[in-house]
Subunit: 335 residues, 2 copies
């Protein structure tokens, strides 16, 4: 089977197509014949050899799995050959990289594919959906009527976060920089769009929460300006961020008695554990998708397995609007 | 009635006894004839004019109220004249300072006194109990079987935190510096004592949690070495701190997907609201106290209302062992 490997860390041109043997699934694993995958910022960081948890060379990177079950380990009862599934593997840490025609993954990470989404849409969901779900549902406990502010509402995690917060019954405001991004956020159901370049935090907190502050603030953009999130939160509010590394003045947290949640969906897998919770989240997400409450936005450019480097370049450019998806099977629909 | 006022911010000698008129309680307030109060670090910070929320001069400082209801506002049905009550007022922000013979407070802040504790013990509880409860129960959701680490287990907040964590069913380890403090922590029910000067974080995490990390780490000492708390926490663990102002490298939070809770029990009152939840916490704390599961340790030195400056000096010296209490009524028992 074909895979994309990297033999050195660096620029997008480090990817090389290779022909390798298919692996057999372990007792608790399944093998998936992939239809599509998508690119996430963590893939780019690992390719550039940022984080310390980068796998040994030459790894197959890629996290998002979407395809058809092709072989099943002896302890696995939830899936059979032919099932259509999706999930988040951990190619970035050397376990089940998704930039290939087949991938072997722990069955508990996986869920049945949303029936009503196409393969490319399905491939766009896993990592960003689990991240947004962890931040908003598991950690910040968003509930009906909460005022939720999402920074970066047109981004990969952000546009899914808007939809999950809405599905939880929240009133959702989001910050964006451009008209095009405002349009995406609106399509995802945001109740209020904030043009953060034009409006001070104090002003939109007054306008949208009567000065009280947001119950939950989620920095889904991964920016490091956490001070703005602290400023926008109410007393005893919840702040969440996917920002990877930063130093911050935490004094404002104390005065408001705030909670700060650092969110890294890979944290458990980094320590060798395989969180079955991830499969449960994606099962619930498929229900939301089939109820027309969750749908990813896809970037207009299309890539194949041989173009993974170009797909990385597209995401790095900052010009992608929606998720950057890589087709693995031939002839997929746009959705 | 007599009160201790300060006419300037500064050293402990700024306190001056004054004779003032008793205030009448508002519709939702009660007036309490005080038996005792206690000194908390926040009183010292305000006296020195640290935080920006210091009240206008000359305020009556002091937060902990313990005494007998003397007058009742017209909307108050929970209390009658003669009831024995305790609670945390907010003298540090200019509302109901407790360094005086009488204090007028919002009724919803108050609870019935524990039947089995003496007045001095009762006066030692409110601020530290609400703080520890908020940190461990409300924010970190400590549950039976959790591994909880408390930094500063012999301190004002810490020794109460040990008892609350134990009452929640947790396994409790605590860090102390001296034999005398170890003895206090043990008396409060700590399962494990860590001499933090002699043992590395990695070593006690291995020894006490099999390397997994603590479910909850509470820095009740208010130190700024939050890096040690991050190191001791498990993946997706909860960290809480009462530290007021610090800048921290949050990268370790991301790698473990941690939650950090800044805890300031006065945060709501600082914004003009009066949290009825505080009265509920103290009602539950009284039940624990009467079940012999919650009891403050009192410093051996005793002070009267005329000695509030000396009581501050005692707490500032770092030599107090247990809470520093100020007797207001004459002839109180030791307890």
């Amino acid at each position: 089977m074909k895979v994309q490997q990297i033999h050195e860390f660096g620029a997008p041109d480090v990817f090389k197509i290779a022909e390798v043997e298919k692996s057999e699934p372990g007792s608790d694993q399944i093998r998936v014949r992939q239809m599509a995958t998508s690119v996430n910022p963590v893939d780019i960081k690992i390719r550039q050899m940022g984080p310390s948890f980068a796998p040994a060379l030459p790894p197959v990177l890629g996290c998002d799995v979407a395809g058809v079950v092709d072989a099943v380990g002896k302890n696995v009862s939830r899936f059979r050959t032919g099932d259509e599934v999706y999930g988040c593997a951990a190619g970035v840490i050397g376990r089940g990289g998704s930039y290939g025609e087949y991938v072997v993954v722990d069955a508990e990470l996986m869920a049945n594919k949303p029936r009503t989404l196409g393969w490319r849409e399905t491939a766009a969901l896993p990592l960003v959906t689990i991240t947004a779900w962890e931040a908003l549902v598991d950690r910040c406990h968003v509930k009906p009527g909460d005022h939720v502010l999402i920074h970066g509402g047109a981004g990969g995690v952000g546009h899914i976060a808007i939809q999950i917060a809405k599905a939880q019954g929240a009133y959702v405001a989001t910050t964006v920089s451009t008209d095009e991004k405002a349009e995406i956020a609106r399509r995802c159901g945001a109740d209020e769009i904030i043009r953060y370049r034009d409006e001070l935090v104090a002003d939109y907190v007054k306008r949208l929460t009567d000065g009280r502050g947001f119950d939950v603030v989620f920095d889904a953009a991964g920016g490091s300006d956490i001070a703005k999130s602290f400023e926008a939160a109410r007393v005893r509010g919840q702040v969440a961020t996917i920002t990877t590394a930063f130093t911050a003045d935490l004094s404002p947290m104390h005065g408001k008695s705030l909670t700060l949640n650092a969110v890294l969906m890979l944290a458990t897998m980094l320590r060798g554990a395989s969180p079955e919770h991830n499969g449960e989240i994606l099962t619930k997400a498929a229900v939301l998708a089939d109820a027309k409450r969750l749908k990813p936005v896809l970037d207009e450019q299309r890539f194949g397995l041989s173009d993974v480097g170009a797909a990385h370049t597209r995401l790095e450019s900052g010009n992608a609007v929606g998720k950057v998806v890589v087709d693995i099977a031939d002839g997929l629909d746009n959705a």
